[in-house]
């Protein structure tokens, strides 16, 4: 019984991973099988070009990691909070037309990402809806997809810091000065962040909903009997009960956001000024654009390592919080 399953796993899961791992250590040029006799190992050279050798590959990896890190930092908490809020809202028993709202919130998730991306190109165009709203409020909207300035840097200049302090400008990590690391997501990236939040919150709402329905009504009644107000009931009863769902949403959110590819491919291709470059897109560009398959695969494995680290970290943090909450109760 298990033999066919193992074969399937080997062919479609283990073999591709092993092959990709080998490609990341080889000089395969995309011609013929990567296991052919004319393909040889280059050791860690592909990884060195990305991580230690100064140059464009290292700098672009640094840029893509910076961009994606800000993307994750902005998208994951907001989409999780929004999904939870939406789930709580549509699970209220008194709400009429719950089915309608559930469908409406879920709709962006089932729309094709190509269609959504194209619509966002128009919405955030320099004369698009967003800028029309901004200008009706008397302000002047930015040229969204062409503005590479970091929002945090805009904030610093608002506070009077327009020049990078020498310590931050002259030192850096992965070929990128610290000042660039601290620039925040670019205005263009903000549009992609909004898009991601809009499309995924509905999906995650769907994960929270059954978890909310699964909370026994007796618990809430008991809390009311104990004199807990709405706020306390949420934080002390509902929220702890949702922890498994929260873990799932955060994990899926982290993985999904670190892998962002389709919106970048469709909307910005890493522009403007490389501020929407992400590791997944960079891997594609390196492999298919530059025919540097080894380096492309190496980027994928670096990304893989980052995702594993973040997931483990998040698991530890959630476990910790769970223990203290349990102590207090």
């Amino acid at each position: 019984m298990t033999a066919p399953v193992i074969v399937l796993l080997l062919v479609f899961l283990v073999a591709p991973i092993v092959m990709a791992a080998w490609v990341s250590l080889s000089n395969w040029n995309g011609i013929g099988s990567p296991f052919a006799s004319d393909v040889s190992s280059v050791g860690l050279k592909n990884y060195q070009a990305l991580l230690t050798d100064p140059g464009l590959p290292q700098q672009q990896l640094g840029e893509s990691l910076r961009n994606n890190l800000y993307y994750v930092i902005f998208v994951v908490p907001v989409q999780t909070a929004l999904a939870l809020g939406l789930a709580l809202a549509v699970s209220r028993k008194r709400l009429s037309g719950r089915g309608f709202f559930r469908t409406a919130y879920y709709f962006p998730s089932i729309t094709s990402s190509v269609a959504v991306s194209v619509i966002f190109l128009y919405i955030f165009g320099s004369t698009g809806v967003v800028n029309a709203i901004i200008s009706s409020l008397g302000a002047h909207g930015p040229n969204w997809f062409d503005d590479p300035s970091g929002v945090l840097q805009l904030l610093y200049s608002g506070l009077g810091v327009t020049q990078a302090p020498a310590a931050l400008a002259n030192h850096g990590f992965l070929g990128l000065p610290w000042w660039q690391w601290l620039a925040g997501p670019s205005v263009a990236m903000i549009a992609l962040i909004v898009l991601a939040i809009w499309t995924t919150s509905g999906t995650f709402m769907l994960i929270f909903l059954p978890a909310i329905y699964a909370i026994p009504a007796e618990l809430e009644e008991a809390a009311i009997m104990d004199g807990a107000n709405t706020w306390q009931r949420f934080w002390r009863v509902t929220f702890p009960m949702l922890k498994p769902a929260l873990f799932l949403v955060l994990t899926l959110g982290l993985i999904g956001t670190w892998q962002v590819f389709d919106q970048v491919y469709l909307i910005s291709q890493g522009n403007p000024a490389g501020t929407t470059l992400t590791p997944a897109y960079l891997s594609y560009l390196t492999s298919f654009g530059n025919q540097q398959w080894g380096q492309g695969a190496a980027i994928a494995f670096i990304l893989f390592a980052i995702i594993v680290v973040f997931t483990v970290l998040q698991r530890l943090v959630l476990k910790d919080r769970g223990a203290t909450a349990g102590d207090r109760a």
């Binding site: 591709p16 099988s33 040229n143 590479p148 982290l254 654009g289």
Partner: protein, 419 residues
Amino acid sequence: MKGSRRLTAAAIAVSVVALTAACSSSGGFGSPSSTGSAAAATKPNSKPLTLMFGSSGPAETKAVDAAAAAFTKKSGIKVQVIPASDLQQQVAQGFAGNQPPDVFYLDTLTFQNYAKDGVLDPYAPTLPNASNFSPDLRDSFSYKGKFICAPKDASTLALYINTKDWQQAGLGAPPANWSQLEADAKKLTTAGRTGLVIDQNEAGIDEFLYQNGGTVQNSAGNVALDSPQNVQALTFLKSMLTSGIMKFPSQLNAGFSGQAFGENKAAMDVIGNWENGTLQTDYPNVKFKVVPLPAGPTGIHATLSFTNCWGVPKQSQNLGGALEFVKFLTTPQQEMTFAKAFGVIPSLEAAQAQYVQAYPQYAVFVQELKYAHPDIAIAGATQAEDAYNSALEQLASTSPATILKTAQQNLQAVVNSDK
């Protein structure tokens, strides 16, 4: 852990290719790629050919289908025509699986990558019309001095002028040099319209470097971007940008300069002959004329040329048949058929002469070929070029010297790694 099993989209893409390779390579895992010796395989056999191309639209697809059918009728070799949705990726997958298409469209940059890997059949000098291709097109498809594959078409940049705007501004002869271009752009700029639009990448900007006596790559193959001439040329463009008489398409909410020109958000546009198709289908009411690009301050004429070739892999199972097919496709007669069907400019000088007669209004594109420089193409430089393009986008807010210095370093690093 559930998540850790999921690789990134890119990793999956890479491994799918790897898997395809493993599944389709005839000898299974570890078999050396089968590259038949060129000499033995040059006789055509009856194996059907595949032709993969990126189509500009139904007209091109129909014309290529018809050419394939005509070849089959003549030679008895069947041809399967595959319009690719992402040509570069699909050809790459073919090579990875040891089954590349027998004939395919190949752009100049990807050509460099494949030529470096030595997977292309260097058939071009054996064609009967080999010496009839324009010299700059031959250069585009030569690797280390060897002419490899036959250019299938030619495009050059020219200046498109909206004739209605031009008359309203009371202007006379088209601009012959930079200062006239600047003066005309200034007069053509109104509240809702800019004088000139150019594309915000090297393919829209590098011709100005050549016009100013600069160059992108010197004859030794080294990058020569950070020259004073180039800095001066970019500074000229920057001054037009900052004064608002020239704009980039993104500032005009357009995807490319031709769209801004079609929507009359700009009165002049530096763009290639592909704009003719855009204007015909999307903006049929725009009245325009095409003139040569203005010369630089010292009178140097220059433009960029763009082209594709008919790529043929060495490992084709019917190499002889593929070469017969390319021979058929690169006759003046067939090139003119393509020109009539979907507007491309022939690569053969004999066919160009016919083209100029048939389309005198577009003769300028052919005339400009004599001082055209091939668009930059360096093996492995896709990302370095992207970085250069990204920097050019920010021209209005960056120093030209910095842009050129950084691009020089990045591109030269790629050249060095190839030595």
